[in-house]
Symmetry: C2
Amino acid sequence: MKAYSEMTKEELLAEQKQLNEEYQKYLAMNLHLDMSRGKPCKEQLDISMGMMDVLNSQQDLRSEDGTDCRNYGCLDGIPEAKVLLGDMMENHPDNIIIYGNSSLNVMFDTVSRAMTHGIMGNTPWCKLDKVKFLCPVPGYDRHFAITEYFGIEMIPVPMTEEGPDMDMVEQLVSSDASIKGIWCVPKYSNPGGVSYSDETVRRFAKLEPAAKDFRIFWDNAYGIHHLYEDKQDYLIEILAECKKEGHPDMVYKFASTSKISFPGSGIAALATSLNNLEDIKKQLKNQTIGHDKVNQLRHVRFFKDIHGMTEHMKKHADIIRPKFEMVEQVLEEGLGGLGIGSWTKPRGGYFISFDSLDGCAKEIVSRAKKAGVVMTGAGATWPYGKDPKDSNIRIAPTLPPVSELNTAAKLFVLCVKLVSVEKYLNA
Amino acid sequence: MKAYSEMTKEELLAEQKQLNEEYQKYLAMNLHLDMSRGKPCKEQLDISMGMMDVLNSQQDLRSEDGTDCRNYGCLDGIPEAKVLLGDMMENHPDNIIIYGNSSLNVMFDTVSRAMTHGIMGNTPWCKLDKVKFLCPVPGYDRHFAITEYFGIEMIPVPMTEEGPDMDMVEQLVSSDASIKGIWCVPKYSNPGGVSYSDETVRRFAKLEPAAKDFRIFWDNAYGIHHLYEDKQDYLIEILAECKKEGHPDMVYKFASTSKISFPGSGIAALATSLNNLEDIKKQLKNQTIGHDKVNQLRHVRFFKDIHGMTEHMKKHADIIRPKFEMVEQVLEEGLGGLGIGSWTKPRGGYFISFDSLDGCAKEIVSRAKKAGVVMTGAGATWPYGKDPKDSNIRIAPTLPPVSELNTAAKLFVLCVKLVSVEKYLNA
């Protein structure tokens, strides 16, 4: 098919007419489909149902150190949970705190604590005139929501195929002491599916921040969330790397089992240096007596160890890989060669990132919505919801059943074409 | 037996000699007993073990509104959990948010949010020169730890048998706009076991605070934690009372199932006005996608309804009532008539509050510790850990088995006598 940019006005009008007819058919279908959020589908949840059976009333609910998991106590998690999530995060159990059900909550609390009490003796951020965060874009809307909520100024940093633009990161971090953090999803990034290259991770570890309390917020949400057995990304372990570079305290790592066991009923963890842990526990001991140890025990008894978890992740991959491949195929078949969009082909994670012609994303999402297909709001992948080029759209293919997803993807392709034709006609 | 105050020096010396000999025997026993924290005992945990069986892999884990509890979402809790905890807190489900495993965490976050963002549009507390809280004493050390952590000045208010000294509360709250809150455990209070009288609750509801963002932090931790079926305290429902008085937004109510099901693996809740809920959710939606709905479902399916919960609480009472009665008996037999201590005889809750002669509490706790019995640190029931009279000691009788508790209580009595004799001898 001819690229839209090479079509005559007549060709574009003919194309538009046909697309509009097709769009009308979708409208008549009265669809209610959702490609908006990175939620596991029912089949993925089903593979963890055994978790509901591993604990029962006949069992001893003590952890291996003898702690009765049913009672109060154990601020930072039971030992075997630290081992399991330590293995998952590639960190020593001594560097781990096991939290409640949400790593997002841990990130929020981490920023909140820095606001009210500062980091390791530094001035509380709420006492400073200006606090800034670097935000690789496109990125995760819920990260940006936290920093926006706390009035932290967000500076977009473009993503490349190797991770954030490190020239820009280095330049900003080393020159501006009001820059206190950077949001990173370093593996199978949200939404681009990019894994940071070895070089990128090393450059992170070598950062020389102007602010002593600068921290890398390393949200390794998709650390073991591969789509393929034979094509997997590898990520250098940042905590060890920072230590080698003489910056042991520069990173907070976050992870959870939300997309491994049950979202909302998983366990979250933070991994960081012993200095940071000490600093954090000063707050944590005032905030809670301890997190849900029974659920920690449930996870350990279900997965047993990191091998069990790795095997479990293959089942997730088998369920969602066909969805990714199908969406990629629909995109390729519908848009290949038209020059009106590009998209990522991730090896893991939960998203496909789509880039339309400039100025079209909002309208594409709006047309899809009108026809009953909810996408992540255009702009959501940028701080303040403002994508300056209005081009990025996050596609979340995991939740809908394959047949619905196929319909939704085709409608999406149609909307991309329709809005792109209009753009050329109006140019 | 003669009151110590009426003994001659010779009599006191003879008493001291005998007490010291007895104390030596305890030292030789090499005890390791704990009466320090309000933790349920093993038998109490055992009665909730059925909770481990109510959910299994064969079951539908959807809530009654169709929400798949295994997936993301549902910020404020599943409907049936709101009904159950609403019934427990005597509030409409619409006024409830279901949280994670710890009401302490909810209280911490409530103060933290007020610090960084203020309450309902008022100035964030971190921007104010001075923020103060009223602290009824003796009170709960973890409450005081939260306000101390945030640099909030704590003003002790004496407890009477009807609750906090309301003359003082009214005077302070109406005259000082820097007073932003008061910590209350209104029923079977920690540690005094006092339940606020009708008059006290009504006076709370009628408060006319100088600060628009003054809030009553109503931690009804022991709302249904009766020790007796025939002798129970009743508490007027504060949210309704505040509404009647035209102060609908003046109270945050906190509760959890920590001492109903499993501490650390229960569910917590907050009940407040719709205005406050709206204010809170602005933060909550940035902090988390939702709390553990599977655990919410587990609680509802186990207890079924408030009747099930009430019946369950009778089992708790049957286990811990003998412990309270035994400690009270040991105290009466050992200290009755000596004029060296007084103690509460609560109808519910988790504590007996003991008052020694002035200046003796720290030394009593220290002697008990030396002989292997850990009590709550003397002073812990006061802000900053400073009991000006050094007289209050919190006794937590629930955790140890009855036989150990008997030994611990007798040792405690001995330490009280020993330290009191010394006080008279040194006078």
